[in-house]
Symmetry: none
DNA sequence: ACCAAAATTTTACCGTTTGATAAAAAAATA
DNA sequence: TATTTTTTTATCAAACGGTAAAATTTTGGT
């Protein structure tokens, strides 16, 4: 009868115990008495069944795939935070879904009692995110804009992230009264010494959480469309290897910031140190794929809110 | 702020909580803080996910004793398929365990690429089995109900196997819009000529796999309890030697269909030829013992899903 | 648009179940 | 027999499931 079934028997018992526990719903005490062993042995068998993956838990709901993708993204790119929302294949929107999810995450930060510093970038996605925020009263927190939204011609882009945000959450807010780009490194230096700007710079460096959009480059890039960047410059940047930008900071395929070139004229506040702060990118869609992957690779962002199909791309790469 | 499609969100949240709990292994406290709700709400969501069968736990490990019993059953009764699940001595449930196993076998059939015709009976066990099926998209298959679930008084029994099944697996389905029993052989003949019924009859005859419960007879038989059969008739049947029924077809101790008597008024679709199709009975428990043995002896079923202690009975006989 | 009723959520509490640890006992191995 | 490994026993803090009252939100009627 019993030849050498040691290992086999053990897994058999584990399977039996796991079955009684997970399928039949008995307590470990009951299993112990049914199988004639001590409760601790029963417990060991049950957890062995789990460890050996004898019991398989399946969750039949679209949301499950999203959660799993988020967990894998976290692991793959060493993220502090990841959230994946279901894709809507039919929709062309670049914000539906992630805007709500982004707002929820911002809300979680704002709900904390101890004061935090939140920083935001700009762009359509971020504007849509802010628009999903419920009114809140957060006098203990401060919010700062990492980047301006002044165009080359001096006018302001229509979306107004920091002020919209301040409108609904009633916290002290620090705008960035500068263009995204200035004409020279020297001009940047001068502007950054203005007292108002200095306060924002200082605050930005201490931000606990940062929420940014991720810009792709190309002829139809929002950066051009919105008049932040001349098309000739765009071509030069792409030739230099740039694939995306965050708050105006250009980076290449590996997520390394471009040295020289335009980055010396970016007036935005630098992203705070990634080891301390959460820098959460909010983006989805085919056109953002490469830029997102580069930003994740290079650790420019350590948090991500995206949708399923974008997550799929980022995972298979 | 427009931000909630409530109805949808409820199950979403349940799925999310269930995933975090069962897959990610978080505690309910953690889930509560992640989702921004109280622990009790988290607990409710987790158990809702269970109740709504969003999470399905399955144990695929073959337990040696069960495997051996299955092999012996196959041999002893010339079965095409046999599956034995562990017994839970204390439990009074007649479905726990075999329902999951039955669902797994149905799933295997549904996963085949070439189109198959699946037929199902009715009853509590089968309903519990169907409830364990994961959502699937199977436009290539067809499913047909071998029997109606209309009572003597014209009302429908609460369990609704074919429609529940169609709900989750999205295949063309063919219900049997008749009672289990009609008043006379002649009426049956008339009814069976209705075009709708004829299609079901035709399909049933071509079924590749059939899943049925096995009904025992007696004063407390489900057939009586559910109002399909008057108690006086039951007594007569038993006197005539009937020990069990499948889809309403009465059989005796040797598994031979009773001639005459009530069987001439059974409106169910006849079971397809056993040499071609798999007719799999799903049943366990003391009260089903005799009916099961008779059905196996007579070859009414050529497949079986049961539990260890029932298997033991069937093997020692 | 308002108020009242109903339903849901939160808060608080309690007994049971669970996972983990450490020492004693038993079994297996050399 | 001595040594190693496993199982049992005992104990404890954390986690869980249930209940009940208070607070909140939703619903329905006016």
């Amino acid at each position: 009868m019993a030849r050498k079934p040691e290992n086999n028997n053990r897994l058999d018992d584990a399977a039996r115990a796991g079955w009684l526990y997970y399928v039949a719903g008995r307590t470990q005490d009951e299993i112990a008495s049914i199988m004639g062993i001590s409760r601790q042995s029963a417990q060991r068998l049950v957890s062995l069944a789990m460890a050996e993956r004898l019991v398989k838990v399946r969750l039949d709901h679209p949301i499950a795939a999203c959660l799993e993708a988020a967990a894998r993204l976290k692991d793959r790119y060493q993220l502090k935070y990841a959230d994946v929302v279901p894709s809507d294949p039919g929709s062309a929107s670049t914000t539906v879904g992630i805007a709500e999810a982004g707002a929820a995450e911002i809300e979680r930060w704002l709900k904390t009692a101890e004061p935090v510093v939140l920083a935001v970038g700009t762009g359509r996605t971020l504007k849509a995110t802010i628009d999903q925020l419920p009114p809140m009263d957060c006098p203990q927190h401060r919010i700062v804009s990492l980047t301006g939204n002044i165009r080359l011609d001096g006018s302001a882009a229509y979306y107004n992230v920091i002020f919209s945000m301040a409108d609904v959450i009633n916290a002290r807010h620090f705008p960035m009264p500068l263009p995204v780009l200035v004409s020279s490194p020297e001009e940047r230096e001068v502007l950054h010494k203005q007292s108002l700007v200095k306060m924002a710079l200082e605050l930005g460096a201490r931000a606990d959480a940062v929420f940014v959009g991720v810009g792709e480059l190309g002829a139809e890039a929002p950066l051009c469309e919105d008049g932040f960047l001349a098309r000739e410059e765009m071509a030069g940047l792409m030739a230099a290897g740039a694939v995306g930008e965050i708050c105006g900071w250009m980076f290449d395929h590996d997520g390394a910031l471009l040295t020289g070139s335009i980055n010396e004229r970016v007036a935005s506040i630098p992203l705070p140190p990634r080891d301390r702060a959460s820098v959460i990118g909010i983006a989805k869609g085919r056109r953002k794929h490469e830029a997102l992957r580069a930003a994740l690779r290079g650790g420019i962002i350590n948090g991500l809110i995206t949708d399923e199909s974008t997550a799929e791309y980022l995972l298979k790469a």
